[in-house]
Symmetry: D3
């Protein structure tokens, strides 16, 4: 689903940059002779990568930021030429937010709350009519001024910056999402059906990490930390 | 402005394919493991070319149709690999409309009415929830069921197909459009300022063709044909 | 050698699609104005990946199917834009076989028999003159109607579908194959020469897995399963 | 049809480079770790361009030779990175033939005999098992040792070089060829039907040039030169 | 030779951006995690196009500026994604010079003096250690502070901006230049040898335009204007 | 820093191929109609990969050599089409050195001396005026004739081959290097600050391997081997 959210975030951002949508009245990809938009993607995981790829496909100048250098190296190998990878720190984030027409918040830590990378102060320094899409909203958002919205009323404006913070974004493209979800979960469903979840988890630590709750016990450490509950790991879970 | 309309047409089409917008609930570019949308672009002029390029950039499978083989050859050289050029005739149009998730009507003949390539019957055979964007609406539209709409209420539904027929589409991205328009018209404005339009037109036949009305006379043949008025060509206008 | 078989499979498929070869009389890559062929590649391992890359290079529309989502994600990053990745299940396989001009069977499980993904019924529903190349024929084939052929008489026809099932395909490009084989085996040969195979296998589990028979004992589990013989693992073989 | 012949020439060349076909036993595109074939394309018109594009798509190293510098510049803009354009002269032709695994003769002058760029001596210096495809064979061939062959027996060997000189190559992919031919000729057929050929030719010099014979008179200068007949131009034919 | 100068200009610019060469100490293409240089190319003719292509190939963010919108459209079709085309006017030039690490002056009008697009004031506003390469120096330069230099001492510094203004740049890569020059001039030499220059010029207006001086008379209008001499056109020279 | 050295190596090589720099007078990327340079990169690690990418971006024909087949496969997926991967052995190295205009020595083994792949004899067989850049010079060089030079006097000539062997190449682009170094080391610095190096090394074997000396003891085996000192591994260091 992350891939869908990543791709949709640019599609939505492009739409809300239109003037009747309260945006700057800018075309994401520019046209020959007119510069394209500056898109900043915070986080180079699955969401951020797909967002960057789509924005580049539309013709925008894209900056993709992360602190995982190994990941940035790989992306430098496979991304289109109009994606620049930047190591993310307080200074580079601020420098890029000031220039941005569209910002995608894509910093998600599995099961944990998203870190607040974009502050109120950052928002106040952004260009009027710029758009921010916070894909991390389901984990609390990585933008300080973000609060959950719906597909019925997807945006609101803070300090002249349009905020799009729809929870469950992929719901809008249900046909694509349903197929994608089946594809991703089928192997796990088959394993559970064949072996029972305890055996499946014991054999495959990655599988076990996906199990958050067992009979009322919290078995995933990120979830436990985030909700301040006690962690009770699964037996037989691998060390890795 | 054609380039802007072409690029916007895909952006709008992608948005209205979403379920809350009455579309099929499909993500234009698909995701790994799920097929992308099938986009049909009718007309390979400036509008259609930009539309095809953007749709391809988003990851869709694109069919670009035209009857100008020379143009299709050039586009085959420069378009991304997921754009297929098809020679347009009654049969190939129908074959492709039946498969389409998104159709862009981009058949414009300068100054003349657009030909009606997509009929009511075609529309009735399209998939429910598919979207059609008629960029030719300013010249009467190339879709039989098209009627002008506005940015306030951009779409309506006929036979389960969402129609987007906003006149003056580039108005929504006014900042980009204004710069593009200045770039395109500046050289002509300078010529008129320096020479007067009569001398400018006499020296440059292409310039002369852009002059539609002079002191009440219709000087452009396409305009004259289209409005059933008498043509009175400019003196000194080139033969080409 | 898998890479060579993968690349060759498309070259052969393109050739046997020609009319004098009993094929549909279709050019794989199309030409400007005429749609290219629809190529379906079953399996996204080394064979299938190379096949997809070459078919895309020729200009075909390619569908690459697999059940490994992680692999499909990587391929989505690095494949040309005219390759679509589809999660493989009974329904998507059938949908794509019906449309296919060329099918590449590339589902190989190391040392084991290939699963029969394409049935007699599928073949009967394919277009007349379409071509199927079963690269998995050395492990029994992933097409029900496949039986081994030779470079001398490489094809036969079942239900109007041309079958190409040459065992040892890379033999036809011996010069390239010989170099490739040396490159791939040299490091192992050096290890055996320097350490003896037992020590080499003990130190490098991946190496040990490549040893199928030792003094009459079957030491590889996939081979043992496939031939219904008893497995006698190497001592000192790693756990991975 | 030139586009089809160009694309097919590589497909055939790749096939006849196989060992059982008398070729060098080389895979056109190489594999990781093994160098690809060296393909030389003589002539950068429609045939040569398509041949170069397909060979590059397969992964070969391609040299595309011509004497039209303007054309080479355009091709340098749009060709894949593994196509090198070289200005064609006696020395560069020879240097490249010596290195070639596959040579495509694509020097066609409309209506005239093809120039003999590749001589017997060149052939004798080529690598054993290399392949030469003379697409210009319908106009007499641009290879001295070329003589027409058929799809039934397409090749013969001279000085260890495999010659493929099938006349009417596109006949083998009849389905694609028929559609392509219709697309290309339809506009002319419509003009003749609407206006008669004389009026059509008078209005459109390019059209007039396509008329070779009128009531027994040779009206095309290249045809007249080539067959040593007297030229009797069409009246009303443009000067261009 | 323009192509060589264009390509070399980036190679030189990259070198003189190094710290020991007095430049900013910046790597043109950046590395994963560090932003690349901002390269501004003034003029999108042959020189500017090649410069932009090479800079993009090195990984820089490139802005290519011109006032010919038709040309910008074509370049938008064929340039890599990290080249942005911008319509050139006083404001956009200044905006981009301020951000530039490397500026290429590539505004050449055949035979005429280059316009002074970059003024002393612009230079004073540029970043310390940035580099400017004025390829137009042979026609007087398009940078106000430019004065001719040599391969022996190629650069000097004005207002902390490194100036590279070597006349006859292609001389440094004599081997490539000699071949390129032969290729470009051979057709003309053959025409002169076969027909004499007067007949050749009469038949081919483009050829005639290349003749600047005949028996002491200035026959080319741009040259005449530029040197304040009287123009005496060739007889039989075409109107175009 | 390896990435910077890799990218710079091509930039330097291109510069020193110029005639006034003692090189062959060749433009790395060629121009339309003139073949580009042949660049050989020895070693496909980070340095070699970046070098190959940049050389390809400039338009050269690039051969990238290594003995790690898995790595060559990945590079074949992500490199531009004008990079050919070749499995490196005595014969292929020699074949390619003879043809090379520019050679990049990029064979580095972390902490150990670089192997001497290019011998005096190889150098004597290379083309006059060709250039060799030995990036491995900091570990002793992989070219027999290499000896350390400085940015002040970066090159010398042996057997007509220009040698560029500057130690600490990235120093010339200090601004880029400083940022890159911070990005790469920041996570380690934070770990040391938070945990002390002993705990950090115990928890993360990869981290531990980066520690070469502890209180006078050599803790890294490659360093110990290379300097013939005794190895005293860190306690708590992982087995991997």
């Amino acid at each position: 689903m992350s891939e869908i959210a990543g791709k949709m975030s640019i599609q939505e951002g492009a739409k809300y940059l239109e003037k009747p949508m309260m945006g700057r009245g800018i075309l994401l990809g520019g046209v020959p002779g007119v510069a394209p938009a500056h898109v900043v993607v915070l986080g180079a995981g699955v969401v951020g990568t797909q967002a960057a790829k789509v924005a580049a496909g539309l013709g925008a100048n894209v900056v993709l930021m992360d602190i995982n250098l190994e990941r940035l190296r790989y992306l430098d190998d496979v991304m289109p030429a109009n994606v620049t990878t930047i190591f993310s720190d307080i200074q580079t984030i601020r420098e890029n937010l000031v220039l941005a027409d569209l910002v995608i918040g894509a910093v998600l830590i599995p099961g944990a709350k998203a870190p607040r990378l974009v502050t109120k102060k950052h928002i106040s320094e952004m260009k009027p009519g710029s758009v921010i899409v916070d894909v991390a909203i389901d984990q609390g958002g990585c933008v300080e001024t973000a609060r959950p919205t719906t597909h019925q009323k997807p945006t609101y404006v803070v300090d002249n910056v349009v905020h799009y913070c729809v929870t469950n974004m992929p719901g809008a493209v249900g046909r694509t999402s349903t197929i994608a979800l089946c594809n991703a979960t089928l192997p796990y469903a088959l394993k559970i059906a064949n072996k029972g979840f305890e055996k499946a988890a014991a054999e495959d630590p990655g599988f076990g990490e996906g199990i958050n709750l067992v009979g009322g016990r919290v078995t995933n450490s990120a979830v436990a930390d985030s909700l301040h509950l006690q962690l009770q790991p699964l037996r037989g879970r691998g060390a890795a």
